[in-house]
């Protein structure tokens, strides 16, 4: 087994790491780059709690090999806020009590950010289907959907 050198960009910062061929991007982020915000809820792409962006698309980082991301641009929950200033989605999630235990929250925020980048005024149905791969067991999703709607309104300046 030989380690592979990877050069990539995470949250806009240049990053280099060595990875084993079988190592997932999630494990690289968590244990090589100390970015613990993405969580492993299932390891099989069924829960979405490890969601990150890869070249502008959301992916389950548990279903990406570290070796694959050479030259890519990766975005994680740690890059969502602008320094100490929360992203409107983050603020909306706090204001609307859209989290209970919070384990699914990083993945849902990253996924929602990408949705609003593509569609600044999504319908309830569009939000629900976009987030169908982000399991939340605490909230029943109601307050999550409302928080995304509220953040979208804020970002539109409405």
């Amino acid at each position: 087994m030989s380690a592979i050198a990877v050069t990539t960009t995470v949250n806009g910062d240049p990053v280099q790491f060595l990875t084993d061929p079988g190592e997932t991007l999630l494990d690289v982020l968590r244990y090589k780059l100390n970015l613990m915000g993405a969580k492993e809820g299932c390891g099989t792409g069924d829960c979405g709690s490890c969601t990150v962006t890869l070249n502008g698309r959301i992916v389950c980082s548990c279903l990406v090999l570290g070796a694959e991301v050479d030259g890519a641009e990766i975005g994680t929950i740690e890059g969502l806020a602008d320094g100490p200033n929360l992203h409107p989605l983050q603020q909306a999630f706090i204001d609307h009590a859209a989290l209970q235990c919070g384990i699914c929250t990083p993945g849902i925020l990253v996924a929602s950010k990408t949705l609003l980048d593509r569609n600044p005024d999504p319908s309830e149905e569009e939000i629900r289907y976009w987030l169908a791969g982000n399991l939340c067991r605490c909230t029943g999703y109601d307050k999550i959907i409302r928080a995304v709607q509220a953040a979208a309104a804020t970002m539109r300046g409405a």
């Binding site: 069924d46 209970q100 067991r137």
Partner: protein, 749 residues
Amino acid sequence: MTMALDQQPKRQFKYVGTRPPRPDGIDKVTGRAQYGNDLVAPGMLWAKILRSPHAHAKIVSIDTSAAEALAGVKAVVTARDFPAIEGDAGMRDVQLNCMADTHVWYEGHAVAAVAATSDALARQAVKLIRVVYEILPHVTDVDAAMAPNAPLVREGQAMENVPAGMSANVTYTSEFGHGDLTSGFAKADLVIERVFKTAATHQGYIEPHACLASMSSDGRGELWTCTQGHFYFRTACAAILGIEASGLRVTASEIGGGFGGKTQVWAEPVALALAKKSGKPVKLTMTRDEVFRGTGPTVTTSMTCKIGMTKAGRITAGEATLRYSGGAYHTGTCDMGAMAGFAAYDLDVVRTYGWNVLTNRPKEIAYRAPGAPQAIYAVESTIDELCQKLNLDPLDVRILNAARKGTKSSYGVVFEDIGLLEALHAAKTHPHWTTPVAPGTSRGIACGFWFNFGGNTCVSLNIGTDGTVSVSEGNPDIGGSRASIALMAAEELGVPYETVRVVIADTASLGYNDNTDGSRVTFAVGLATIKAAIAAKTNMMARAAQVWGIDPEAVEWVDGAACPAGPNAGKFPPMTLAEIAANSFSTGGPIAGHCDFQADGAGVSFGVHIADVKMDMETGKTELLRYTVFQDAGKAVHPDYVEGQMQGGAVQGIGMALNEEYIYSDKGTILNAGFLDYRIPVASDLPMIEAVILEIPNPGHPYGVRGVGETPICPPLATMANAISRGIGARLYELPMSPPRVLKAIKGA
């Protein structure tokens, strides 16, 4: 000065009942919050558990030599590394569940574990362990386990109350209720008896069990873990490892959901044993597959329910037999089902029987109102069918029979102030109920109940010299409890919410606290916080009295400040908490309040749910169109999080109703141990869940607070069943009501 807790609940609030941001919000939206799997330690090893592939087998031998010989493997443990607990059968069962010794009782039962220098090595090493099994006959179905000649799961487990002649897999029976059944049923115009079955369901928290353990050769250890109760985890780990509890410090990480599933130890004693044996910190994180196979689901049940009703809709008698199985272990879950099943009704005649049956399934652990959703499903479905047959309005029938203050409950206790009638009346006038059922859709309604607990609680409240407040409490914050506790501290002290910081203390820093379970935290920890705040206020008023040179009895606390009580006490400007705190070094030192007590008086909570569904008559698929929850919260401390409990609990119940189930092969192995085929509701499955909070104060709490977390999982099973049966013109008696079953019922109708 009257500082005793008033018997009359407080009704005017400044902070309680508002919706401020939760204190841990920013950590949780930025990814900074540290959960069970988020801590690493220098020199840490990675652990992996080897699990039984068989549903039932005798362990003939375990050969760990090849695993031990693999370079990078630092420790291997088996049951030999856990001294057998004597004199506590319950804890011995927990120990045997963490690591099997002579037998495996279910597929997924742990048999050995390895710690190695990497996760990959640990996974490689467990494959090198050779276990020789002698496979034994197994049984996973509760009715099959009670049949004559069923495979025997464990010998000699029956308790004294099991009547002679029963299957040896029945270990415990119970009976509750009052009145004469024969005359009760004789008064009815219609009596029906139905048999129901429900599948085992998993709590399905998104965070798998994870911990980081270290233990030195002197027996001192540290455990970081996601838990609903780190004090109980300390007790259990110490007992299972045979060490002193004081030597072990347990720190609760942030917890990624539990719903009861993290009230019990699974991997933690194993991680500690590996740490002890290797002399290094050990990280042990379960995979999702392990969570499904190796940790507690609910009971699986078979239930018989018989109810008699008059033409006018009055229930004359109710009887239910609940056959519950929680795997190969004793559980008291059938008691809770038997007590809760008919709790919503004012009945002259009621009788329930609970049976605990052994099967080769994972060890059951509490899941949100354990035992109650299933029993309530049977009762509420039977009542609904009677309403259909007698052509009665199902809501009016529930109002007619509802338990109220003074009702002798089905479990013997006479209710104090309860909010069921208020919830039913709120439902009756709500637009959801008053809107006619649209063509092609159907509507269901059902009630639910949970007892709510108090329990052992310890809180320290410290006044900072700058006038801020810190509250140390011992219950992991699973859904916003830091916010509600800070609100109650702010309310009692009269200081801004933002100045109160709530921390979850580790086991070495605070007295024992019961698990975060039974919907107890906002009630019990809140009560302890109020008492600790009162103690601190008393201290602060004494300081002010000293400064003013008046009697402490002549001081009262108003809006966050000590004030002279009345004109005779003297004329002094109010002395604020911040002023008293700033002078504390000169007036006697630091100021704190403490409370260690057993919180009793948790008021029961009732809920009423309404669902509208649209059925696909060609495929049997259910579409949920509208859902409304009505529940008595006593006093909603932080209404957002009360609504969140009502919404989240309802959706878990909807999952139980529609699709969630453990599916077994004929070998007794689980076929759907993952989120792909264990189908919890996803965002696109659901409409908004409207939550209507009612506030009928609990006389057992100074602010009237009741627990709210568990009740909402109870009504949805029957709410959905009642809606579906009205939609398809046929009733299903088995959960989940998955499309193949619904389609079959449609075809048979």
